[in-house]
């Protein structure tokens, strides 16, 4: 389970120094300590930059820094100022989109009631529905609208927040009393409101003060006598008036031996009012002490020194001071209302706070009856132990687990589509001679069950079958104009010329991408070399693979090797709404090139094979010139070195099949156009004049099927495959052939009992053995064939595959509902409209808060000095050497990116400089502004002179806040 904690309560100026802020921070720490298997992410608001470093520090030893995620917004956003409306609303949307992108199983908003006067942004269900838990502190303002909501502005804000609060799925109450308030006043569902309680921080504990220390404290606050203590806010529900009146009611012989210490910061007018009241009651300034604000350590000392702690509040969410006092060994008495009975936990220590006499009576007993006082202390000690942060955190996590488990059943079942969504199908189609065109021709009739399909084509004509079908055909231009008509877009990307129009279309009209070939380098290079899209290849090499790939592109003798080596597909992966692949092999490649991937985001849909209507085998054999007892071995597909046709031929010559007049070896497909083909023909002729070994040349579908029907064995070998699924193997299996394959690329993933699987690197003997065994063993051939056929029927049936498409497309589109595109249109719906600079800043905040998928971690090397100034020769050379070394040997898991500062600490990628350094054409890339991402490292190779370094420090501070690690003393730091 991934738990995301929204910890703005520890950031907002309204809460961070108060109970809620401290509660949130303590609970979050405890949750991290007690999370067990679960993953915890902490979400922070970038509009409180001054708080981020200290919060990061708090979690330093217990949580990896990358688990602290910062999102940005455009401030100011406080609710009080109506001119903030657009910024506040857009920030709410952005925050929710950011949270959704973290794919949380639950979001825990530590405090919903934030952002009235500061820049905290809390909303629930404004942009999207995320499983959300909120902390329920109390509903005091709602229950006592007077006086808390007397101000209509405050009232409107509170009620609005309360609506958000109700939209949560799970409520974590800080006490049973506040839990019951939630049920009573908001009718929250009983099972979903959980009392997780609260705890006091560790430093509230009993300790012996030295005589000097005690004397110091007593002198500082004027507490010469034993004293009765209260601490907490000054608020009418806190009932301090009642306390003073009760103190005045104490019998004189007790009262004159004690002082009343009211420990809290108080505004002068409050202070004055309380002192007037005391005076009226005949109490002197010595009898009632108002300490004003006291530092934390003094507070602990006072708890330890007081003779009695009284907490007479009418209404509390929890009543933390009572617990803190018990931790410090103070005897505690308190009100018998709201949460205090469960905090104090003993009826004898409770009183009716509305009755001054009752308070006075309880105080008199606690101060006069030593036995009772001792009992209070003893009870307090044991009661305090019942509360701990670990316990509270465990309760919260158990609540999350239970909630998550209940939701699981619902989440995993895909709801059936209510109607067929309109889908734009972007793919080449027959008569285009491409495997993907044929594939689409097969998929479309099945996909039509689920979607109302329209075809987006970049080709002049379609085969009759499609013209006749009822799918409207649209041009790319038309599609661009009417893209908003479609609810779904499905792109088929392959490594050939027929897909080049899709590269510019995808970013504009995003959709789900079926990646037929993992390597798109062929077409991308082709687009550049042919001038279709200038610099397309250089840019994509750089974007996908960095400088090393660009360097190879310019320095490797044969650019074809570079095409072969680098997939060049990252832009397509990032621009898509989601990816579909045909084999596990593509997942492996993705992992290999771009690091860990989330497998749930890469659904694998096997290639389809239509169940075939059996042709009459003997008739077909006769047509092809085979007798019934002939043994026919076929290898299907276009011939070439990577198909290892020569290995099959060599093995054939060494087996007895070669000398048996009934055995035939047929290569069904076009011969290799160049030398390899020549060699094959020569070898066949030289070895045997016998026409029992043949190359058919290109055959149409009908002829192809005949051979599949006529064959006894299929042999499909591959080497150096790029992971693409082999269609011919599936054809063999579909026709029930016993098929020999080697474990290369995606063929390695075939079920073992369905084919004769040779190792990837097999020997001639192994292939010979396979041929001869299957030749002799008819039963074995039959068994392999029928298993293969069964698997095709089950796994590769077009119906099943189309269903898989349905769930994959819907899965991706569900995720896209919280993506940047959806966010943009939600932001557009905000009224009033944004000021232009705000819109720009928002775009920047979105770009930062929602980083692109699969983006590499960057090692940003600051070479401002090299780019902006000419350093001394030896220094410059040292940096260059070091930089070149970094570029050539990037640290594991990092992309090395030299960068330089321009005016106002705007950093740019030093692409032109680096290309020149690497001896490549320097203007092949542009020096764009650096995109800083959490997890990046920023390495300063040369320290700038300490001039105007203030702005630089602030900038670095901001980078650190964003999760960029800064290494100021690079290996080549120069003094």
């Amino acid at each position: 389970m991934r738990i995301v904690i929204d910890l703005q309560a520890a950031q907002s100026t309204g809460s961070r120094n108060r109970g809620i802020g401290r509660y949130s921070l303590s609970l979050a720490q405890a949750m991290v300590r007690n999370c067990g298997e679960h993953e915890i992410l902490i979400a922070l608001n970038g509009l409180f930059p001054e708080t981020i470093a200290s919060i990061r520090a708090v979690f330093n030893d217990i949580l990896p820094q990358e688990n602290i995620r910062v999102w940005d917004a455009v401030g100011p956003v406080s609710d009080l100022d109506k001119s903030n409306d657009w910024r506040r609303q857009s920030s709410e949307l952005l925050r929710e989109a950011f949270l959704a992108a973290l794919k949380p199983d639950i979001v825990h908003v530590m405090s919903v009631f934030e952002g009235f006067v500061d820049d905290a942004v809390t909303s629930i269900g404004t942009f999207c529905n995320l499983p959300t838990a909120v902390t329920l502190y109390d509903l005091i303002p709602f229950i006592h609208r007077h006086p808390y909501l007397d101000n209509p502005t405050v009232e409107a804000w509170y009620l609005k927040k309360l609506d958000h609060f109700r939209r949560a799925d799970l409520w974590l109450a800080i006490s049973e009393s506040s839990r019951l308030e939630g049920l009573e006043y908001l009718s929250l569902p009983d099972a979903m409101v959980v009392n997780v309680s609260t705890a006091a921080d560790h430093h509230f504990q009993k300790f012996e003060l030295s005589e000097d220390a005690e004397h110091g404290i007593r002198k500082k606050y004027g507490l010469q006598h034993p004293f009765v203590m209260y601490t907490g806010g000054i608020d009418h529900r806190k009932n301090i008036d009642g306390l003073i009146r009760a103190f005045a009611l104490l019998p004189l012989q007790i009262r004159c031996k004690h002082q009343l210490a009211i420990v809290c910061s108080a505004r002068p007018e409050d202070k004055h009012e309380l002192l007037c009241l005391a005076e009226k009651l005949g109490l002197s300034a010595e009898d009632v002490i108002l300490t004003g604000f006291v530092p934390e350590e003094d507070l602990v000392a006072l708890y330890n020194l007081c003779k009695l702690f009284v907490f007479p509040s009418w209404h509390e969410g929890f009543g933390l001071p009572a617990l803190e006092a018990m931790h410090c060994g103070a005897p505690v008495i308190g009100a018998n209302t709201s949460s205090l009975p469960e905090v104090i936990g003993w009826d004898d220590a409770l009183f009716d706070p509305r009755s001054d006499v009752a308070i006075a009576t309880a105080m008199e007993r606690a101060l006069g009856d030593e036995l009772f006082r001792a009992e209070l202390i003893r009870h307090g000690n044991s009661q305090a132990k019942r509360f701990s942060w670990d316990e509270t955190a465990r309760r919260a996590i158990v609540a999350f687990e239970r909630f998550h488990a209940e939701g699981e059943v619902l989440r995993d079942a895909m709801p059936p589509l209510v109607r067929r969504p309109k889908l734009a199908y972007v793919s080449p189609l027959p008569p285009t001679r491409s495997g993907i065109a044929d594939y689409s021709a097969e998929l479309l009739p099945e996909l039509d069950r689920l979607y109302e399909v329209e075809l987006i084509l970049d080709q002049a004509e379609v085969s009759d079958a499609f013209a006749e079908a009822s799918w409207p055909v649209r041009t790319v231009e038309w599609f661009l104009k009417h893209a908003d008509r479609y609810e779904r877009v499905l792109y088929h990307f392959g490594n050939s010329d027929f897909h080049k129009h899709m590269f510019d279309l995808l970013p504009v009209v995003p959709g789900v991408v079926v990646l037929h070939d993992f390597f798109l380098s062929g077409i991308v290079a082709h687009m550049e070399v042919n001038g279709f899209k200038p610099d397309a290849w250089v840019n994509e090499l750089y974007h996908s693979h960095g400088y090393l790939a660009v360097q190879e592109r310019f320095h490797t003798k044969d650019t074809a090797d570079v095409i072969w080596k680098f997939p060049c597909n990252l832009s397509v992966l990032q621009n898509s709404l989601g990816i579909i692949v045909h084999s596990e092999n593509s997942l492996m490649l993705a992992q290999q090139w771009y690091g860990a991937i989330d497998h749930t985001e890469w659904p694998v849909i096997p290639l389809m094979r239509q169940a075939i209507a059996d042709l009459e085998r003997s008739k077909v054999r006769a047509q092809l010139g085979f007798k019934n007892d002939d043994f026919v071995v076929c290898s299907f597909g276009i011939m070439g070195p990577t198909k290892l046709n020569h290995r099959l031929l060599n093995a054939w010559f060494s087996t007895k099949l070669h000398t048996d007049a009934k055995c035939h070896l047929i290569f069904v497909g076009e011969n290799h156009p160049a030398d390899y083909g020549q060699q094959m023909t020569t070898q066949i002729c030289n070895g045997n004049e016998n026409p029992r070994i043949r190359i058919t040349g290109w055959v149409d579908m009908e002829e192809f099927r005949k051979y599949l029907t006529a064959a006894d064995i299929g042999v499909q070998l591959r080497t150096l495959s790029r992971g693409e699924a082999s269609a011919a193997v599936l054809d063999c299996m579909n026709y029930g052939l016993a098929t020999i394959v080697n474990a290369n690329g995606s063929m390695a993933n075939l079920a073992e009992e369905s084919v004769w699987m040779l190792p990837d690197e097999f020997s001639d003997e192994q292939l010979m053995e396979a041929l001869e065994t299957l030749w002799k063993d008819h039963a074995r051939r039959l068994k392999l064939g029928s298993v293969a056929r069964e698997i095709i029927r089950e796994v590769h049936s077009p119906r099943r595959c189309a269903d898989l498409y349905g769930s994959a497309i819907e899965h991706h589109y569900r995720a896209a509902e919280t993506g940047i595109h959806a966010l943009s249109s939600a932001i557009a719906d905000i009224s009033p409209v944004a000021a232009k600079p705000d819109l720009r800043r928002l775009a920047e905040a979105v770009a930062f808060s929602m980083p692109p998928r699969l983006a590499p971690r960057q090692l940003l090397v600051d070479i401002s000095k090299l780019v902006n100034h000419a350093p001394q020769v030896d220094t410059g050379q040292k940096i260059r050497d070091h930089l070149q070394e970094l570029l050539a040997y990037p640290p594991e898991g990092f992309r090395v990116e030299p960068v330089y500062a321009t005016y106002g600490n705007v950093y740019r990628y030093a692409r032109c400089f680096t290309l020149r350094l690497l001896n490549c054409p320097e203007f092949a890339l542009t020096d764009e502004v650096v995109e800083f991402r959490a997890g990046d490292q920023f390495l300063v190779l040369v320290q700038q002179q300490a001039k105007n370094d203030n702005t630089r420090d602030i900038f670095f501070e901001q980078l650190r806040n964003y999760g960029v690690e800064i290494q100021l003393d690079g290996p080549v730091a120069v003094k």
């Binding site: 070399v529 160049a674 775009a843």
Partner: protein, 410 residues
């Protein structure tokens, strides 16, 4: 208006004394004959300012007097011993005896006073002038559009611009027998320039004008000043407008001629294009020839390959070289061919090396592959230039979404 302000204002915008004096000389053709007719006679200058006109009158050995309200200005007169005193011109002229003056002048006065005061001034001038005496009133010319719309109001004490027709009519109506309007202070080069610009039309009309009115006198007296009264002075708005219109008409004619010519050449170009297409079709065989040559080479024409790897006669070699380099160039532009060809060539390393060598030497192949960076990079406005490319895309997306929404709601 505080004195300090007006003084400062004048310091900035008033021309130097010498310049003013030179401008005033323009009236001498009117003044001189009268000075000769009435030697030593009195003249009166209303609003005499720094006394430039008084000085000129003295030079004609007349007896000038002047009044002005501005003490700062008068100080300049006092320095030079000129007969000026502080006073209101309209009040002052009423104290002068009838038939006592030969010239009453008011340079840049009438725009400062009310229309009633103007009429009084003109009527009093007629009274105090001797027969044949002259009233000169100079004022900004509202016919000049820049003056009328802007420069006139630079002086905050100005009342309202007075069109020359009005001022001339006031003099006529008062009973002056001869009234002349003089346009003044225009750029002399503009007067003779052929082409006028729109700027000239707006700002080039004489920025000032004067009305010179003469009191009734006998024919022989009037004849003395007949010549200056008969001339035309300065640039009028009509003059410049008609010059602009005729220039515009010329341009229009030229444009029509150019359009006709371009149609002609377009037709010509189209014919040539057709011709080239025909030519292209017929030479396609020639263009693809090198490709076929190398294909033959590579598909086992071993004789040709041997000729590559062994030394033959130089001439044969050179011929081969040009064919091969063209072929390589062709192949490099077609990566679809390139990969199969280059992988085939690897079976013949010697040929490969040799071909590569030819390619590099003839400049068709660059080591490390062909690369032509021909992308044009758009120049971004500064506020977008400091955004990351991704932030820019998101910004555009946001803007588009907002525009879209506005369009829908409109």
């Amino acid at each position: 208006m505080s004195d300090r302000f007006y003084r400062a204002f004048e310091e900035r915008y008033y021309a130097p004394r010498e310049v003013i004096k030179a401008l005033r000389r323009q009236y001498l053709p009117f003044a001189q004959p009268l000075a000769e007719l009435y030697p030593g006679a009195a003249t009166f200058d209303a609003g005499c300012g720094r006394g430039e006109w008084l000085e000129l009158m003295g030079e004609l050995e007349l007896s000038p007097s002047g009044v002005d309200l501005d003490e700062g200005m008068l100080a300049a007169c006092v320095e030079r011993g000129l007969p000026a005193q502080k006073g209101d011109a309209v009040d002052y002229i009423a104290t002068l005896p009838s038939d006592s003056q030969i010239i009453v002048s008011a340079f840049h006065v009438v725009e400062h006073i009310t229309f009633e005061q103007l009429r009084t001034l003109v009527a009093e001038a007629l009274r105090v002038l001797k027969p044949g005496g002259l009233l000169i009133m100079e004022t900004p010319n509202p016919e000049n559009i820049v003056v009328a719309t802007r420069n006139f109001y630079l002086d905050p004490t100005h009342q309202r611009p007075i069109p020359s027709m009005l001022l001339a009519f006031v003099a006529e109506f008062a009973g002056f027998s001869r009234v002349k309007t003089l346009r003044l202070q225009e750029s002399k080069s503009l007067v003779n320039r052929g082409e006028v610009s729109l700027q000239d039309v707006f700002a080039g009309v004489s920025p000032d004008y004067a009305v010179v009115a003469q009191k009734h006198a006998s024919e022989d007296v009037l004849a003395l000043t007949a010549q200056p009264f008969s001339l035309d002075y300065g640039l009028s708005l009509e003059n410049l407008l008609s010059r602009w219109d005729s220039r515009f008409n010329r341009l229009e004619t030229k444009a029509q001629q150019a359009e006709t010519a371009s149609q002609h050449w377009q037709q010509q170009a189209h014919q040539w294009h057709e011709y080239i297409l025909a030519l292209h079709a017929s030479t396609s065989w020639k263009i693809t020839k090198p490709l076929r040559a190398i294909k033959r080479l590579l598909s086992g024409d071993f004789a040709a390959i041997r000729s590559l790897t062994t030394t033959t006669k130089l001439k044969a070699k050179q011929t081969f070289r040009s064919v091969v380099s063209a072929s390589i160039g062709f192949v490099f532009k077609r990566p679809g061919l390139r990969k199969p060809l280059s992988s085939t060539l690897k079976f013949f390393p010697k040929v490969h090396r040799r071909l590569l060598h030819v390619g590099v030497n003839t400049g068709v192949v660059k080591m490390g592959g062909m690369y032509v960076s021909n992308s044009t990079r758009p120049v971004l406005p500064p506020e977008l230039d400091t955004m990351t490319p991704r932030a820019r895309l998101i910004y555009q997306k946001l803007k588009a979404a907002i525009e879209d929404k506005n369009k829908r709601s409109a």
